[in-house]
């Protein structure tokens, strides 16, 4: 089956600017060669720490950020290599929900007007049809029509996420990129938002790219997980596999570091020292090698690519040795 969305070696550089009579700013490699396939109807978690390029990747898939290299296919059709406007038109089946729902709505526009605008922009001429569709999506996200004349500041954080979702749903997307959809929400609200997202996926047959840094949520919610570090996907496998048997040392570190209610029972890998280096000054070889407890001299020379590891893919030169050392079957009792 053709994947609904396919990325091949996509790279994005940000911010490079040559300026007149002033020192030029070198570009930052925010995404460095990402290949992904997204099957229709799945939820792909994209996980990593700040600066790993997960938001840039999301904006590139959407078309707001231009890829500097690589190919993006939507339903088998190439939609990369276009200028931003054309790219956005070609990728109209993809939509994006911002992390900060409150800031993504114009404070001067009522909710009803904001929702209607999205449809006007998309060229839906019939006012009655627009109204019907808005009522439908508002109901779908659990708000009623009384929300329409109200303004963003009158809503709570959880309700604003619903409004932002409704705005996107009205456009009939097939792929929705959710940027940190639960960050900043209280636990009880977060659970309801996730519940809603699961229900909307069933109802509208959506495919999600779920960008998050919260491993507990990703573990519960996603089908597959891509772990990113400094612009690269370092591990890609089903959520069950990634959490049960992390292969890449960075994944292990991330799992060890993420706070969990089951903290006393869970095996602990050491937390890596230091912080991720800036994407503007990448270390040679494997980007994680300076912090990696398993790093060897060759790790600092060779930048590993993703390779099949039986249950998914990972990008570590030594994953076989590391996995072998941890495997209880291979240890003396």
């Amino acid at each position: 089956m053709t994947p609904i969305l396919a990325l091949r070696d996509v790279a994005v550089s940000l911010g490079g600017r040559r300026r007149w009579l002033r020192p030029s700013v070198p570009p930052v490699q925010a995404v460095r060669g990402v290949s992904l396939d997204l099957a229709e109807g799945e939820i792909l978690g994209v996980v990593g720490e700040s600066g790993c390029g997960k938001t840039t990747l999301g904006r590139t898939i959407l078309g707001l950020q231009r890829e500097s290299r690589g190919e993006i296919r939507l339903d088998g059709t190439v939609v990369s290599g276009l200028d931003p406007r054309a790219a956005r038109r070609a990728r109209n089946a993809v939509h994006y929900v911002h992390q900060d729902a409150a800031a993504s709505l114009d404070p001067w526009w009522s909710i009803g007007r904001t929702l209607e605008e999205a449809l006007v922009v998309q060229g839906l001429r019939d006012a009655a049809e627009r109204r019907a569709r808005i009522d439908e999506v508002l109901a779908a996200v659990g708000l009623d029509a009384s929300a329409r004349p109200r303004y963003p500041h009158e809503f709570s954080g959880g309700q604003l996420r619903r409004v932002a979702l409704a705005r996107i749903l009205a456009l009939r997307p097939r792929v929705v990129i959710l940027d940190e959809p639960t960050s900043g929400l209280d636990m009880s609200v977060q659970a309801m938002v996730l519940n809603l997202l699961a229900e909307l996926r069933r109802r509208y047959g959506l495919t999600y790219v779920f960008i998050s840094h919260d491993l507990s949520v990703v573990r519960r919610f996603c089908d597959r997980v891509a772990i990113m570090y400094l612009g690269r996907v370092v591990e890609l496998a089903s959520a069950t596999e990634v959490f049960a048997q992390p292969r890449h040392p960075y994944t292990r570190a991330l799992l060890a570091a993420s706070p969990s209610l089951a903290s006393e029972t869970r095996p602990r890998a050491p937390v890596p020292p230091g912080e991720p280096p800036s994407a503007a000054r990448l270390p040679p070889g494997c980007a994680f090698s300076p912090r990696c407890p398993h790093a060897q001299p060759r790790c600092r020379e060779v930048d590993p690519a993703l390779e099949q590891d039986g249950r998914g893919e990972n990008a570590c030169l030594r994953w076989r040795e590391i996995a072998g050392a941890d495997d209880p079957a291979m240890q003396p009792a």
Binding site: E49, S50, S156, G157, G158, D186, M187, S188, V189, Q190, A191, M192, L194, N195, A198, H213, D214, L215, S216, V217, R219, R220, F221, A253, L254, A256, A257, S258, P259, S260, L261, A262, S263, E264, V271, P272, P273, E275, P276
Partner: protein, 327 residues
């Protein structure tokens, strides 16, 4: 049981605003024993920051203490004057680690100048002594290149490093109590874990007590000895962290834990919303959302009961004689 470092007793705080009197804290009670870490957990709007402000004596204008005491080493902090707090308590015996390390440091002064300033005010000794002590502390919090760090400016450090600086600053005057306001929320998970481990070690080494305010139950599970759960300005449950997380007793604690992705089966959430302090329901504030609410809940006055060893729950279910209104 040894005398607690900090004991908050039936604290009530209201703030008068444009729209009326907001009863932000409505009966908060907990105790923090020497050398332990107490996690204060609550959702946004539960009054966590007002609680911190009450303890540090920096309540905003218009705030009224409606009752209760904040006992710190046997003295009621609420009875202290501003000058006494400055001279005897703030910065010296109680120090503070803020949530956002980006905002807590003045960008135009070197970190050394800023940290030494506090020490000069609260600690005897010469500038050389202070500097040596500070470098020792910066090494202890694993700040790379501690000696040179003093002459650098805040923007030259990463978020994690800045948080380490502020931890060193908080410990610089050998306080008895450290109040930490979500110090790891702005950090990435690996950095957060480093900071949590560091805090744990420092508490064990120095014997300082720590009040750790957070909304993240996972962080509490990692770090805290004891736990106090706050809902809408009422402390609903206190006790050893492990025991509370494993067998929550108050209906709110149970519902909150059931929302955590590590625990929940489906994602249900708690129906309804946290009430605004301006329009808080009478009696138990969780009653309108509580699956176990009784008719008597709105009439019940807050009173925590010892429900198990070391644990206190403020709920009608645990009152000694269940007051059931039988028609």
């Amino acid at each position: 049981m040894a005398a607690p470092v900090l004991e908050v007793q039936a604290l009530r705080v209201a703030i008068r605003g444009d729209e009326g009197l907001a009863r932000i804290l409505d009966h908060v009670a907990f105790r923090l024993e020497t050398g332990r870490i107490l996690g204060v957990v609550g959702e946004s709007g539960c009054g966590k920051s007002t609680l911190i402000r009450a303890i540090l004596g920096i309540l905003p204008r218009g705030a009224q203490i409606g009752g209760g005491r904040v006992m710190f080493e046997g003295e009621d902090l609420l009875a202290f004057s501003e000058a006494e707090l400055n001279r005897q308590v703030r910065g010296s015996r109680i120090s503070f680690i803020p949530q956002d390390p980006y905002l807590a440091l003045n960008p135009v002064f070197t970190v050394g100048a800023q940290l030494l300033e506090t020490m000069r005010r609260h600690r005897p000794g010469t500038r050389q002594d202070h500097r040596a002590e500070l470098v020792r502390l910066l090494r202890r919090v694993q700040l790379p290149d501690a000696e040179a760090a003093l002459d650098r400016y805040p923007h030259q450090f990463s978020g994690g490093q800045r948080q380490r600086l502020l931890i060193a600053a908080a410990l610089a005057c050998a306080p008895r109590l450290v109040v930490a306001d979500e110090p790891t929320t702005a950090l990435d998970v690996t950095t957060q874990q480093q900071i949590l481990l560091l805090l744990r070690e420092l508490v064990e080494e120095t014997g300082v007590s720590m009040l750790f305010v957070t909304h993240d139950l996972g962080v509490v599970a990692e770090l805290c000895d004891d736990l106090c759960v706050i809902y809408a300005g009422q402390s609903v449950e206190t006790g050893p962290a492990r025991a509370v997380l494993n067998s929550p007793m108050h209906p709110y604690t149970r519902a909150l834990l059931a929302c955590h992705p590590d625990r929940s089966e489906g994602f249900t959430g708690i129906p309804g919303a946290v009430p605004l302090p301006l329009r808080a329901p009478p009696g138990c504030r969780f009653a309108p959302r509580c699956p176990e609410a009784r008719q008597a809940c709105p009439a019940r006055t807050s009173h925590p009961r010892a429900a198990a060893p070391g644990r206190a729950v403020d709920c009608i279910l645990y009152d000694p004689v269940p007051v059931e209104a039988v028609p």
